[in-house]
C-alpha cells in the first residue's frame, strides 16, 4: 500500500496542470467576475449558467463548432489513410515526399491562416482569379456565410492531415507483410485485403488520431481568429472564439469560464462516445466475423 505513495508527486503535478484549471473554471462559472464587479469574483448563484442556456449566440456557435469538428476530422481521417497508404508504397524519392508532406503541420497556425486568407481573398486571391476567367460573378469566399465555414474546414484539413497521416503511416508499418502475402494466396482482391487486414489492425492508431483531433478541432481558435474573426455574420464563430471574446473584449470572466467549462463537458462526452463507437465497430469486425 505504501508504494502507492510513490506516484503521489506525479498525481500532484497532474492536479496542478489539469485539475486546478478545471476546478477554477467551475468556481469562476458560479461567480460574477466582470467590469461591473470590478473584476472581483462575487457569487451570483448560477446566473451565468441560466444566461448560457438562453444565449442563442452560444448555441449557434456550439452547432457551428460541432459542424466544423465533424467535417474536419472525418475528411482528415479518410484523406490521411489514403495518403499513408500511398506513402507506404515503394517508389523513387519516397523519403523526400514523406518529409515534404509533413510541412503543413510544421507551419505555425497563424502563418498558414494568413496565407489562406490571401488565397481566399476577393478579388486578389488565386481562387477568385481563376473563377473570374469563367464568370463575372465572384464567389466572395470569406464574406459568404454559406461558404466561409467550408474555407475554415479546408484550411484546417490542409494543416492537420499530415499529422494524422504520420500516425497512420506508423501504424501501417507495424503490420507484418506476410499477413498480406497469406491473404494473397486466398484472394487477389486488394479492397478485401484492406478491409479485412489493414483497417482492423490500424484501429488503435485510428482511435488515437480521432480522439486527439476531436479535442483539437473542437477547441479551434487561432485559425478562425486569423482567417475570418468569426465572421461573416458570426457564421464561423467557434465556442473557443466566443469564450475568448467574452473574456478579452467584454471582460466578463465569469461567463467566459462558464462557456469553457460547458465545452469541456461536451468534449469529454464526444471523446467517450467516439471511443465507445470505435470499440463497438472493433468488436464487430474483430475476433469473430460470423
Amino acid at each position: 500500500m505504501i508504494y502507492a505513495l510513490l506516484i503521489l508527486p506525479a498525481l500532484v503535478l497532474i492536479f496542478i496542470v489539469f485539475g486546478f484549471p478545471i476546478i477554477r473554471y467551475f468556481w469562476l462559472s458560479i461567480h460574477a467576475s466582470s467590469v461591473l464587479t470590478g473584476l472581483t469574483a462575487t457569487p451570483n448563484y448560477g446566473a451565468n449558467w441560466i444566461r448560457l442556456l438562453n444565449d442563442d449566440r452560444f448555441w449557434l456557435d456550439t452547432i457551428q463548432t460541432i459542424r466544423f469538428t465533424m467535417c474536419s476530422v472525418l475528411i482528415e481521417i479518410v484523406l490521411a489513410i489514403v495518403f499513408a497508404l500511398i506513402l507506404n508504397q515503394n517508389f523513387r524519392g519516397r523519403g523526400l515526399v514523406r518529409s515534404l508532406s509533413i510541412l503543413p503541420w510544421a507551419l505555425p497556425t497563424t502563418i498558414m491562416a494568413l496565407g489562406w486568407r490571401w488565397i481566399f481573398n476577393t478579388p486578389y486571391g488565386p481562387i477568385e482569379r481563376i473563377v473570374s476567367i469563367f464568370s463575372t460573378n465572384s464567389i466572395n469566399i470569406l464574406s459568404n456565410p454559406n461558404i466561409a465555414w467550408i474555407a475554415t474546414v479546408f484550411a484546417d484539413i490542409w494543416k492537420t492531415t499530415p499529422f494524422i497521416t504520420l500516425i497512420i503511416l506508423a501504424g501501417l508499418q507495424t503490420i507484418p507483410t506476410d499477413l498480406y502475402e497469406a491473404f494473397k494466396l486466398e484472394s487477389g482482391d486488394k479492397l478485401k485485403s484492406f478491409f479485412n487486414i489493414t483497417l482492423p489492425l490500424l484501429q488503435p492508431y485510428l482511435i488515437i488520431s480521432i480522439i486527439f483531433r476531436l479535442a483539437q478541432a473542437f477547441g479551434v481558435f487561432d485559425l478562425i481568429q486569423v482567417l475570418t474573426l468569426g465572421g461573416p455574420a458570426g457564421s464561423t464563430e467557434s465556442i473557443g472564439l466566443y469564450a475568448y471574446l467574452n473574456a478579452m473584449r467584454f471582460l466578463d470572466f465569469g461567463y467566459s469560464a462558464t462557456i469553457i467549462f460547458f465545452s469541456f463537458i461536451l468534449l469529454s462526452l464526444f471523446c467517450i462516445l467516439a471511443w465507445l463507437l470505435i470499440n463497438k465497430i472493433r468488436d464487430k469486425y474483430q475476433r469473430n466475423m460470423l
Partner: protein, 323 residues
C-alpha cells in the same frame, strides 16, 4: 499432381538470388530444400507461390504453366515461418477468412472450419486469438489453414523453426499425418539437415542460389557430389583431412575407430551425445572428430584408424567429388 520448376532465375539489382534452378516434385512426394541462410530456398518458395516473379524460367503445377498467373489461382497451401496468422481474428475466423473472401456460404464455412479444427484437435480453442495460443498450437492452426485451401501444392517455409527442439520432434508425426500423407507434392524449406532427413523423400541442397545436389537422404549421405554437400549432410560434421596433390580427403566421424596400429592422437575436447561421446582429437593430420564410448577423457592418448574405402575424395579447387 506435380510441381515442376524449370530453369528459374531471380535477381535483385545485379545480385542473383536464384540461378538456373530446376527440379520436379512428384505426386505425394516431399522434397526438402536445404541450405544455409541466404542460399535462396525461401525465395524459391515465394516464386512458386507467386509472391515474387522469376526473371527467367517457368513454374508448372500439374503440367500447367502458372508463371504468370496470380497467387490465388495457383491454389497453394502455404505455411509461413512466422505462421502469418491474423492477430485480430479468432482461430475460427482466421480459418474462415479465406473461405469468406472466396464467397463460400456461411453454413459451408462453419462446416469446413469445424471439421478441419477437429482434424488438428483444436476445437476447444476456436474462440481464442492467436496470441492466446502456444507456439505449437499456432503452428497447427497454420497447418489447418493450408489444409483448408485444398491446394494443388503444399509449400512449407521453415514450419518448425520457431518451435523448441522437443516440440519439433512431437509435431513431426503430426505434419506427416496431415500433409505429407496426401497426394499433393510438398516442398519443405529448412536449414536443419536433421529435419530434412527426417521429413523428406528427397533433398535438394542449395548453395548461393544454385542447385548443388538433389537425391534421397541416403544418396546425399553416402554419395555427396561436392564437399559442401558432404559437410552439410551428416552430424557430427565430416572430417576434412590435409590436402594432398590438390585432393581433399574426408572421412565421417562415425567411420573412425580405435586401432592401436593407427594414427596416434590426443583428446582435446569431448561432448556428450547421450549414448556416446563426440571426441575432438589433435593429431599430426589436424583436428579430427570421432564418436567414442563414453569413458574417454580429456588428454587421453589414443590411436585411430578407418577403412580407406570409407574416405571421400574431392577436387581441392572445385570441391567437386572425384570418382
Amino acid at each position: 499432381m506435380t510441381l515442376t520448376i524449370s530453369k528459374i532465375s531471380r535477381r535483385i539489382n545485379q545480385n542473383w538470388i536464384i540461378r538456373d534452378l530446376s527440379f520436379q516434385v512428384n505426386k505425394g512426394e516431399c522434397l526438402a530444400l536445404l541450405g544455409p541462410s541466404g542460399c535462396g530456398k525461401s525465395s524459391t518458395l515465394r516464386l512458386i507461390a507467386g509472391l515474387d516473379s522469376p526473371n527467367e524460367g517457368k513454374v508448372y503445377i500439374n503440367d500447367q504453366d502458372v508463371t504468370d498467373i496470380p497467387p490465388v489461382e495457383r491454389r497453394i497451401g502455404m505455411v509461413f515461418q512466422s505462421y502469418a496468422l491474423f492477430p485480430h481474428l479468432s482461430i475460427f475466423s482466421n480459418l474462415a477468412l479465406g473461405l469468406k473472401v472466396r464467397g463460400v456460404s456461411e453454413k459451408q464455412q462453419i462446416e469446413r472450419v469445424s471439421s478441419i479444427l477437429s482434424v488438428v484437435q483444436l476445437e476447444h480453442l476456436s474462440n481464442r486469438l492467436p496470441s492466446e495460443l502456444s507456439g505449437g498450437q499456432r503452428q497447427r492452426v497454420a497447418l489447418a489453414r493450408a489444409l483448408l485451401r485444398d491446394p494443388h501444392v503444399y509449400l512449407l517455409d521453415e514450419p518448425m523453426s520457431n518451435l523448441d527442439a522437443q516440440l519439433r520432434e512431437e509435431l513431426r508425426p503430426e505434419l506427416r499425418r496431415l500433409i505429407l500423407k496426401g497426394s499433393q507434392p510438398v516442398l519443405y524449406v529448412t536449414h536443419d539437415q536433421q529435419e530434412a532427413m527426417a521429413m523428406a523423400d528427397r533433398i535438394a541442397v542449395l548453395k548461393n542460389g544454385e542447385l548443388e545436389q538433389i537425391g534421397t537422404p541416403l544418396e546425399l549421405y553416402k554419395d555427396p557430389k561436392s564437399f559442401f554437400v558432404a559437410s552439410f549432410i551428416g552430424r557430427p560434421q565430416i572430417n576434412k583431412l590435409p590436402i594432398k596433390n590438390n585432393i581433399i580427403s574426408a572421412i565421417r566421424p562415425e567411420s573412425i575407430y580405435i586401432d592401436s596400429n593407427g594414427i596416434s592422437c590426443k583428446v582435446i575436447e569431448t561432448e556428450w551425445l547421450g549414448m556416446n561421446k563426440l571426441v575432438f582429437l589433435d593429431s599430426n593430420i589436424g583436428n579430427i572428430r570421432m564418436i567414442c564410448a563414453s569413458n574417454i577423457k580429456i588428454n587421453e592418448k589414443l590411436s585411430i584408424s578407418w577403412d580407406k574405402s570409407e574416405e571421400l575424395h574431392f577436387d581441392a579447387t572445385s570441391e567437386k567429388r572425384l570418382t
